[in-house]
C-alpha cells in the first residue's frame, strides 16, 4: 500500500530523477572519453569544453528568462486579480497549501484546454492557463491543475529540465562536431595509430548513439517530473479526485479538439518543450491513463483510512 501514498510516490520519483541525471552525467563522460580515444587528446581537450559551453549559453539564457521568454512564445497575457478574481481565489488557496509565494498568472487565448508553469525559481514563477481550460473545468478540477503546476514550481522543474537540456545539448553538439571531423578530417586519426581498434569501433558507436540516448534520458526525466508533480499536487490539496477528474477531462478532450487546434497546439507543444525549460502539462508521457490510475489508487487509499 505504501506505493500509493503520495509521500512514497514523491520520494520514488525524486530518486529516479537523481538516477537519470546521474546517467546523463555518465553519458557525457562516456562521449568525452570516446572523443579522447578516437581523436586523441589534442582535439578533445578543447572540443568538450566548447560543446558544453555552447549548450550552457543556449540553455541558460532561456532558463534565466524563462518566464518572460515563454510569454512571448505562447502569447500569454499576464493578468491581475481584478481580471479573474475567481481564478485568483483558487490559486491563492493552493498557494497557501503549498507555502510558496504567489506566482504570476497568465492567460493564453486557445481552444485547447491546457496549462503550464515556468520561471527560474519560486519567486519568478509564472503559471498560465488557456481560456478553454478555464471554461470547461469546475473548481475542484481547476484546483488540481493549479496544484500540479505549482508542484512544478515547488520541485524546481524548470531547473531540472534546464540541466537535462544542457547536457543533452552538449552531447548533441559534441557528437555532431566529431562526426563531421570523422568525414572531413579523417587524417587526424592516423596520428593515433597505436589505439586499440576495438576501442575505436566502440567509440564510434558511442558517438553515434549518444545523442539518441541523451534525448531518451531527457524525456525520461521529464516523465518522472510529471509523475512527481502529480504526487506533490496531492500533497498540496489532499484531494486526488480533483486532479484525476481534470486529467479525465483532458484525456477525453484531446481526442475531440486535437484536430481542430493542431496548428496552435504545435506551437505550444513544440516551442516550450524544445529545451526551453518549460514544464508543459498533459501533452507528453507518462500516459494520461496511467496517471489517472495512480491518482485513483491514492483516492481508494484515502477512503480506507
Amino acid at each position: 500500500m505504501a506505493t500509493h501514498d503520495f509521500r512514497a510516490q514523491e520520494s520514488a520519483n525524486k530518486g529516479k530523477t537523481y538516477f537519470l541525471l546521474a546517467s546523463m552525467g555518465l553519458l557525457t563522460g562516456l562521449v568525452a572519453y570516446a572523443a579522447l580515444t578516437y581523436f586523441g587528446a589534442g582535439t578533445s581537450t578543447f572540443m568538450v569544453p566548447i560543446a558544453v559551453g555552447i549548450s550552457l549559453i543556449g540553455v541558460w539564457g532561456s532558463y534565466y528568462g524563462s518566464d518572460k521568454l515563454v510569454i512571448t512564445m505562447t502569447g500569454a497575457k499576464v493578468i491581475q486579480r481584478e481580471d479573474n478574481p475567481e481564478l485568483f481565489n483558487v490559486i491563492e488557496e493552493v498557494v497557501i497549501a503549498s507555502g510558496l509565494p504567489m506566482p504570476k498568472v497568465a492567460i493564453v487565448v486557445d481552444s485547447a484546454p491546457n496549462a503550464f508553469a515556468t520561471g527560474r525559481d519560486p519567486d519568478h514563477a509564472l503559471i498560465a492557463f488557456t481560456t478553454r481550460i478555464l471554461e470547461i473545468m469546475d473548481r475542484d478540477e481547476l484546483q488540481g491543475v493549479i496544484a500540479h503546476e505549482l508542484s512544478h514550481v515547488a520541485n524546481r522543474d524548470t531547473l531540472v529540465s534546464a540541466v537535462a537540456a544542457t547536457t543533452a545539448g552538449a552531447i548533441a553538439i559534441l557528437s555532431d562536431f566529431l562526426m563531421r571531423m570523422m568525414w572531413f578530417g579523417g587524417g587526424r586519426r592516423d596520428r593515433n595509430s597505436n589505439a586499440n581498434p576495438i576501442m575505436l569501433v566502440v567509440s564510434l558507436f558511442v558517438l553515434i548513439l549518444a545523442p539518441i540516448a541523451a534525448t531518451l534520458l531527457k524525456s525520461a526525466i521529464s516523465r518522472r517530473r510529471e509523475s512527481l508533480a502529480d504526487a506533490t499536487a496531492v500533497s498540496f490539496t489532499r484531494n486526488p479526485a480533483g486532479l484525476r477528474k481534470a486529467l479525465e477531462v483532458l484525456a477525453a478532450d484531446s481526442t475531440v479538439v486535437h484536430q481542430k487546434s493542431n496548428a496552435v497546439a504545435h506551437i505550444w507543444i513544440e516551442s516550450p518543450l524544445d529545451g526551453k525549460a518549460v514544464s508543459k502539462m498533459f501533452s507528453t508521457h507518462p500516459p494520461i491513463q496511467e496517471r489517472i490510475a495512480t491518482l485513483r489508487a491514492m483516492e481508494s487509499l484515502g477512503q480506507r483510512n
Partner: protein
C-alpha cells in the same frame, strides 16, 4: 599535523551542532508563520460574516436562530487565543455558516442576488484557505515534532528551547481536507 586534524574534527563537530540547532529554530519559525497564516484567514472569514448575515437577513428575516448561531460562533472565534480554543471555535463557526447557507437555499431571490453570489464565492474560497492554512500548519507541526523526537535533532531541542507543538484539530467529519494520512 595532529593539531590540524584535531582542529578539523572540532570544526566539523561545531558545524554539525550549528546545523542541528538552526534546523530546529527554522522548523519552529515555520510553525509560527503557518499559525499566522491561519489567523489571517480566520480574520478574513470573520470580516465577511456581518455582511453575509445582513444580506441573508434582507431576504429571510425570520431565521433568527440561524443568525444567532453564526454571530455567537463568530464572537467565540474572534476571542479564542490558544490553538485548541481557536480550533474548536473555528469548527463551530464552519458548522454555523453551513447552516446559514442551507437556509439561503430556500430563498431563490436571495440565491440569485449578485451580492449573495459574490459573498458566497468569497466565503467558499475563504473556507478553503482556512482549511489549507490549517493543513499547512499541521504539516509544519508534524515536521517540528518529528525533529524534536528523533535523533540527532532531539539532543538539541532543550538547548534551542524548542518543544513539540500542538496540532490544529477540528472536529468536523465533513471536512474534506482533514489531514488523515497514514504512513
Amino acid at each position: 599535523m595532529e593539531i590540524i586534524i584535531v582542529l578539523g574534527v572540532i570544526a566539523l563537530v561545531v558545524l554539525f551542532f550549528v546545523a542541528q540547532y538552526n534546523r530546529l529554530i527554522r522548523l519552529n519559525i515555520s510553525v509560527d508563520e503557518a499559525w499566522a497564516q491561519i489567523e489571517v484567514q480566520l480574520k478574513r472569514r470573520a470580516d465577511l460574516i456581518p455582511n453575509l448575515v445582513e444580506t441573508v437577513k434582507g431576504y429571510a428575516a425570520h431565521e433568527q436562530s440561524t443568525f444567532d448561531a453564526v454571530v455567537t460562533a463568530r464572537a467565540k472565534a474572534t476571542t479564542a487565543s490558544t490553538v485548541a480554543d481557536t480550533a474548536a471555535a473555528d469548527g463551530m463557526l464552519t458548522q454555523a455558516l453551513r447552516g446559514l447557507l442551507a437556509v439561503a437555499e430556500a430563498y431563490p431571490d436571495l440565491k440569485a442576488s449578485a451580492n449573495f453570489i459574490s459573498l458566497q464565492e468569497e466565503l467558499a474560497t475563504t473556507e478553503n484557505k482556512v482549511a489549507f492554512s490549517r493543513q499547512f500548519y499541521n504539516d509544519n507541526v508534524r515536521n517540528l515534532n518529528t525533529a524534536v523526537k528523533t535523533i540527532p535533532t532531539s539532543f538539541f531541542a532543550g538547548f534551542a528551547k524548542v518543544t513539540e507543538r500542538e496540532f490544529y484539530e477540528v472536529e468536523d467529519p465533513q471536512s474534506r481536507n482533514a489531514p488523515k494520512v497514514t504512513f
